[in-house]
């Protein structure tokens, strides 16, 4: 019988290696897999390339991973925030490489990575400095930039409910990047608020079919305050 259920976040991320590319779900704190990130911090892998919409908030979660100098490069759309002081300091000091990508292009590149599409022509960013050096093309009278797929060794995401087959549903705007990242990663790890029996999720409403998910770990919502995002 298939079971993708893993007993702990530590086990779930045990094989992340130095130099791995890790996609991390979430938009701000919504959908951020805080406990998986904390486990990765504990685990110690370094020289990571992280793909996330942001670049950490406050001093926990992704920010803590940055602070611990585990991340070599971050691919994101919106690093600068009122509470992105950890990123800001490392970036200014030249200790963190940044690849800045328009948010929709970031999402589409991740989707492409999971969908076997190597590249696509998008109008977003044409004529801006974020298209510098990129191939462009005029198609039917409009200008486009060629963007490439993004893929990863691991995806760490947060979903609402999951089953042993890896089927997932999300909650409200916490869905965001999760369903994309699981497709683009070799090993997709989902922390869920609750594991349900196979058959409990409505097949019409499953957002992430289990094929995309390698590991599911239940994380109680009663986490100590120190590990909660903001």
């Amino acid at each position: 019988m298939i079971s993708k259920i893993i007993g702990s976040v530590a086990e779930a991320i045990a094989d992340v290696r130095d130099g791995s590319t890790v996609m991390i779900g979430g938009f701000g704190s919504a959908g951020q897999p805080v406990e998986l990130i904390d486990a990765l911090l504990e685990q110690g892998a370094k020289d990571l390339t992280v793909v996330n919409n942001n670049a950490g908030n406050g001093t926990t979660g992704l920010a803590a991973l940055l602070q611990a100098r585990r991340v070599r490069k971050i691919i994101c759309s919106f690093p600068r925030q009122v509470d992105s002081q950890v990123f800001d300091g490392l970036y200014r000091a030249g200790e963190l490489e940044l690849e800045l990508v328009p948010q929709g292009t970031l999402a589409e590149r991740i989707r492409a990575g999971g969908a076997g599409i190597a590249g696509f022509f998008t109008p977003t960013g044409y004529g801006t400095m974020l298209a510098d050096g990129k191939e462009t093309r005029r198609i039917d009278g409009r200008d486009y930039v060629l963007e490439s797929a993004l893929s990863a060794d691991f995806a760490l995401i947060k979903a609402h409910r999951g089953d042993r087959l890896g089927n997932l549903v999300y909650r409200k705007t916490a869905r965001n990047f999760g369903p994309l990242m699981v497709g683009a990663a070799s090993v997709a790890i989902a922390q869920v608020a609750s594991i349900v029996e196979v058959g409990e999720l409505d097949p019409e409403s499953v957002v992430t079919p289990g094929i995309y998910v390698q590991r599911v770990v239940e994380v109680s919502s009663h986490t100590p305050p120190s590990t909660q995002g903001q």
Binding site: F27, A30, L100, Q103, E108, G127, K172
Partner: protein
């Protein structure tokens, strides 16, 4: 150097131009304030790029749910008829031209509709683009809402943007504290001026050639 309209007045004025049935994305900051002034007799559907159509007002008290936020990461509410979707679907919706209107803030707008609103380009400034470029090129109409002048008196409606661009030729209407402008291939037109100002007054203060 502020014009006759307060920021609330500017938001109220822009809100008038959003018609019944429109699908609208309101950018972070002043554009978001427009939602407070949408005419109650119009059914207008708000999109937030982090994956929702049918966004309701800001959440208060018990309504606050950390899983339900807008693009500015403020807790919001859900209206009947809402739908959630992932980021690729949300930006496909934007990029594909399905939104009727998006309203953005700006550092500068050029007289040909170029938009600069994401990066000052200054030494040591940390860039952050978010969804700005997708919004700029995606909606059927792009409105900008901004003060016409910076605090030091520079006009933000300019012959050519000096800040890094967000999008080219994308802005159609600019709501400011002095006037509402439309931008088309034949130039910039003053649709409405506030506080008794005339087109010539605005030409003088902006240094631009304007149509009445």
């Amino acid at each position: 150097m502020r014009g006759p309209l307060s920021r609330a007045d500017m938001a109220r004025r822009a809100a008038q131009d959003i018609p019944e049935g429109a699908y609208v994305n309101l950018g972070i900051g002043l554009p978001t304030m427009i939602s407070d002034y949408l005419p109650p007799d119009r059914e207008i559907i708000l999109h937030t790029e982090n994956g929702m159509l049918g966004m309701g007002p800001v959440a208060v008290g018990d309504q606050i749910d950390p899983d339900l936020i807008n693009a500015g990461k403020i807790p919001v509410t859900e209206l009947p008829g809402a739908a959630y979707f992932h980021h690729a679907d949300s930006f496909a919706m934007m990029r594909g031209g399905h939104l009727d209107i998006c309203v953005l803030g700006a550092f500068q707008v050029s007289i040909t509709g170029d938009l600069a609103n994401w990066h000052t380009g200054g030494e040591g400034a940390i860039p952050a683009v978010g969804g700005a470029m997708d919004l700029a090129i995606g909606a059927k109409e792009v409105f900008v809402i901004m003060e016409l002048f910076t605090r030091d008196g520079s006009c933000k409606l300019v012959p050519e943007c000096t800040f890094p661009l967000t999008g080219i030729g994308c802005v159609g209407t600019v709501y400011t504290d002095y006037a509402v402008f439309t931008i088309a291939s034949d130039g910039v037109t003053v649709v409405e001026a506030f506080g008794g100002l005339g087109v010539q007054d605005l030409e003088k203060s902006t240094g631009l050639s304007l149509r009445g």
